[in-house]
């Protein structure tokens, strides 16, 4: 069920469209935010199609709300499928979270309680989405700031259960593991060791804001050293996995992001070497 390893990618951002087309940067693929292109026409779609002609693209959504107890939004799924038909992405992903109930959208990636009830609920919805889109989807672990007292298992046990039951792929956000580990006091290595390696199709790296007592996942800064170390640990354990760097705020010029991506290449290369010699 695995797709190919695409290598090292960047998030596709409006401010870089022209430069990408003009300079053909050394980026193996781009991740496009699905919702930005679920429009009728205009510049974003135009550029996405032109960039798609030269690079593999994956679609990453924030509004699937797979964990919500509201019914699945058929209109959203139709629009997502139409976009996927048009762009032919290497794969499609969204988050293991909910974004609102009672038809309201909080526009945030809200945490789930880790209960058997939530496993049943989320897994059955992933199955429905995969059937509708006629493709497996990748589900990403989110950063969280609270744990629910109802939880009966750890986050990694929850992810394992959901992935197995839904037979879906995973997008492992290494920064989110670090952030949630800090916020909830677990060892991020334990999280990574426990995941089903064969399902991890993509990795996210990002920066965050440390507020002292907790860390907020802001995607507005370079990847920190401890996250690079955790990434290295992950690649040692998993072998090469398609990796991309997310930056949603304070977006620097393309060259800065490309050099941060080179850093990821270097870390991954060393990690693969360490794993081979072990």
């Amino acid at each position: 069920m695995h797709f190919q390893n695409l290598g090292f990618g960047l998030g596709l951002r409006t401010t870089h469209y022209e430069e990408i087309l003009a300079s053909r940067p050394c980026v193996d693929w781009f991740e496009a935010l699905s919702e930005n292109y679920m429009v009728r026409g205009g510049k974003p779609l135009h550029y996405l199609e032109r960039i798609r002609a030269d690079y593999p693209v994956v679609l990453h959504g924030v509004s699937l709300s797979i964990g919500s107890t509201d019914p699945l939004d058929l209109e959203y799924l139709k629009a997502l499928k139409a976009l996927a038909d048009r762009i032919q992405p290497a794969w499609v992903s969204d988050h293991l979270c909910w974004t609102g109930v009672a038809r309201q959208n909080i526009h945030d990636l809200l945490p789930l309680p880790y209960t058997p009830e939530a496993v049943d609920h989320v897994a059955s919805r992933i199955v429905q989405v995969q059937e509708f889109l006629r493709r497996p989807i990748l589900i990403e672990n989110v950063s969280s700031y609270v744990n629910f007292s109802q939880s009966e298992m750890t986050e990694w046990e929850f992810i394992n259960e959901v992935a197995k039951r839904a037979d879906c792929l995973l997008l492992l956000d290494v920064n989110n593991v670090y952030v949630s580990g800090f916020n909830h006091g677990f060892d991020p290595h334990e999280f990574i060791d426990a995941l089903p390696a064969e399902r991890i199709q993509q990795i996210h790296l990002a920066g965050h804001s440390n507020c002292g007592s907790h860390i907020i996942d802001t995607h507005d800064a370079p990847v920190i050293d401890k996250v690079w170390k955790l990434y290295s640990y992950t690649i040692e354990a998993l072998g090469p996995v398609a990796t991309m760097i997310e930056r949603d705020d304070h977006i620097p010029d393309l060259a800065t992001l490309v050099s941060e991506l080179d850093q990821a290449r270097k870390v991954a290369r060393n990690a693969t070497r360490i794993a081979a010699s072990a």
């Binding site: 026409g41 107890t69 109930v101 309201q104 909080i106 526009h107 945030d108 700031y145």
Partner: protein
């Protein structure tokens, strides 16, 4: 309701209405800790939506200043909770909100600024469509001109402004001090549209606005021309000449997607 549904409803009531009932669902050493963590979601909700509105309405934000924009955006978030999947459409009813809400309705320029900025966003990602070229227009045989109906480009939006919104917009673009709100006499019709993936706008002449609206409403070209003559008190030849000149401008600017030749019966 299932326990998951109930928990999600409580969590959302905390984020939206500051209802503390969900506190006991959160693990942690004490309530202070639980509330501190919940507050992260409560704040992030407002910050994210305010930031999205600031992207949609940069000139409105500059006009009212940072602090009042935050109040205005917060009031909007309370009044019109998001029901849209895509954050892109959240600010959709800002203009009508500012027009009707008593806290803002005594400053009618705010609703007009919002309407104008939103129209630019609509033009930006309207459907792609062809833009009629002169060759195509020239190829229409003379006998078909009476039945010619024009189809507007989907990006084209018309906005009627009574206030000096355009002057404020230009001052903002040029990093100049924004002028105070002033009423303009008479009001103006502004067209906003997209060509070659760029968004444009300009003020229409009064006769131009009348003729464009008449054609866009589905009136055949020759019929519109003769009504145009009556309306503007011109002779038929003068009206036809002016209409041809306007048509030339609109084709050049990409306002027209194409035409249909329909018999009017």
């Amino acid at each position: 309701m299932t326990s998951l549904a109930e928990l999600q409803a409580r969590f959302q009531r905390h984020i939206v209405h500051d209802d503390q009932a969900v506190t006991s669902d959160i693990s942690g050493p004490d309530d202070a800790y639980r509330q501190e963590r919940l507050l992260i979601y409560y704040r992030a909700y407002r910050l994210r939506l305010i930031a999205a509105l600031a992207v949609d309405y940069p000139v409105l934000k500059a006009f009212v200043d940072e602090q009042r924009f935050e109040e205005l955006a917060t009031a909007y978030i309370e009044a019109r909770p998001s029901m849209v999947r895509n954050l892109r459409w959240f600010g959709d009813s800002m203009s009508s909100f500012l027009h009707y809400d008593p806290r803002f309705s005594d400053e009618p320029i705010l609703a007009e600024l919002a309407e104008f900025e939103w129209a630019q966003g609509l033009a930006f990602d309207a459907s792609d469509a062809a833009q009629l070229g002169f060759d195509e227009l020239a190829s229409v045989p003379a006998e078909h001109w009476p039945q010619l109906h024009f189809v507007a480009h989907p990006s084209l939006q018309l906005v009627t402004l009574q206030w000096n919104v355009i002057a404020i917009w230009h001052a903002h673009r040029d990093n100049k001090t924004l002028p105070p709100a002033t009423l303009q006499e008479p009001d103006g019709t502004i067209a906003v549209w997209r060509k070659d993936y760029k968004t444009y706008f300009r003020t229409l002449d009064r006769d131009e606005a009348w003729l464009w609206r008449t054609l866009a409403a589905g009136t055949a070209f020759s019929e519109a021309c003769s009504r145009f003559a009556t309306k503007m008190g011109m002779d038929e030849a003068g009206a036809a000449q002016r209409a041809a000149q306007l048509l030339h401008t609109w084709v050049e600017e990409g306002w027209i997607q194409g035409f249909e030749i329909l018999s009017d019966d």
